[in-house]
């Protein structure tokens, strides 16, 4: 009885290991990486890899079939973009319609830097008429005036 059980275990283990052929690890890793860059259209904030929606399963199967038939990652992405549009890509491509998206933040940053610089320069200009110079030290003429005021003598 225990021998039969042991034999059964061995057979089960053999079946279990043969169902996962070795050497496919690299292929699976590639598919995983690819599916993480693709969007599930049903649950839009999930990747194809994470989603359990029916369509996501179908698309994973499709991606797997295409990869098996020797298609490159770029070709697989093109296949999906042709059907679902750029939206399936988590990382939108750089093209004329996405320039604002890609470069807009940098343009805003540059704009902010320019405004900052202009304001700073304005302050520096205003500093010229003030009692304290840019280096933080009181200006000589302002010092003389202050001393005259403290001595309580008419300045004229």
């Amino acid at each position: 009885m225990s021998l039969r059980r042991a034999l059964l275990l061995v057979v089960a283990a053999l079946i279990a290991t043969s169902a996962w052929p070795q050497g496919d690890a690299a292929f699976d890793a590639r598919l995983q990486a690819l599916e993480k860059e693709l969007r599930c259209l049903v649950c839009q904030n999930q990747t194809l890899a994470d989603s359990s929606a029916g369509l996501a399963e179908d698309l994973r199967r499709e991606v797997r079939t295409l990869a098996r038939s020797g298609k490159t990652d770029a070709e697989i992405k093109d296949f999906l973009v042709a059907r679902y549009g750029d939206f399936v890509l988590y990382k939108p491509p750089v093209k004329a319609t996405t320039w604002v998206l890609w470069f807009g933040p940098f343009a805003l940053l540059a704009g902010g830097a320019i405004v900052w610089w202009v304001i700073l320069r304005g302050r520096r200009g205003a500093g010229r008429g003030a009692a304290v110079a840019v280096d933080g030290l009181p200006r000589p003429d302002a010092m003389a005036r202050a001393r005259a005021l403290l001595d309580d003598t008419p300045t004229r």
């Binding site: 259209l41 049903v42 839009q44 029916g54 369509l55 179908d58 698309l59 499709e62 973009v81 042709a82 059907r83 679902y84 549009g85 939206f87």
Partner: protein, 177 residues
């Protein structure tokens, strides 16, 4: 000049508010299809009511037609179905049904119960043709012109408004040309 400079931040703010408001009124679930303006993906599939026969895009050449993606398990298909039945009765435009990831018996029973507006329904049991057409939610409806170019895609159930304002005028236009 000084007051103009003071108004600048307000102007920038208003522009941003404008963009955000425009974004609010758009449905993020409606993904524009790259298929519109492109040739309809060809298919030839088994007919739902006669598995011995096949039907496909080639049979519809020279006609303006609609492809309606439906399934018996799809709840919103019930919502749009009466409109499709009316459309079929008016005989304005032939509708081909793509029975998407459904069981044949259930699909047939559903049509028997709710009425069959389709010239023919074809079986896409594994959703392969659906992927070719960029289907990501059922129901979806496509308008295809005489030369086999997709002209319009309706995502989600048809509405009276969509039919009267967009689909039917487009169909009439395409039928004239």
């Amino acid at each position: 000049m000084k007051s103009l400079r003071l108004l600048l931040p307000l102007a920038v703010f208003l522009v941003i508010v404008g963009f955000l408001l425009a974004g609010l009124s758009r449905d993020p679930r409606e993904v524009p299809s790259p298929l519109v303006g492109a040739p309809a993906p060809a298919f030839s599939l088994v007919q739902l009511h006669d598995p011995a026969k096949r039907s496909g895009t080639a049979d519809m050449r020279g006609e303006v037609w609609l492809l309606n993606v439906w399934a018996s398990w799809c709840v919103s298909c019930r919502v749009e179905h009466p409109l499709l039945v009316q459309l079929a009765q008016a005989k304005i435009v032939p509708v081909v049904g793509l029975n998407y990831k459904d069981k044949n018996e259930e699909g047939k029973a559903w049509l028997a119960q709710h009425g069959n507006p389709y010239r023919v329904s074809v079986v896409d049991s594994d959703g392969r043709v659906g992927i070719d057409w960029g289907v990501y939610g059922v129901p979806e409806t496509f308008v295809v012109d005489k030369s086999g170019i997709v002209r319009y895609k309706q995502i989600g159930p048809l509405t009276v408004e969509a039919l009267e304002k967009r689909i039917l005028p487009l169909v009439r236009d395409l039928q004239k040309s």
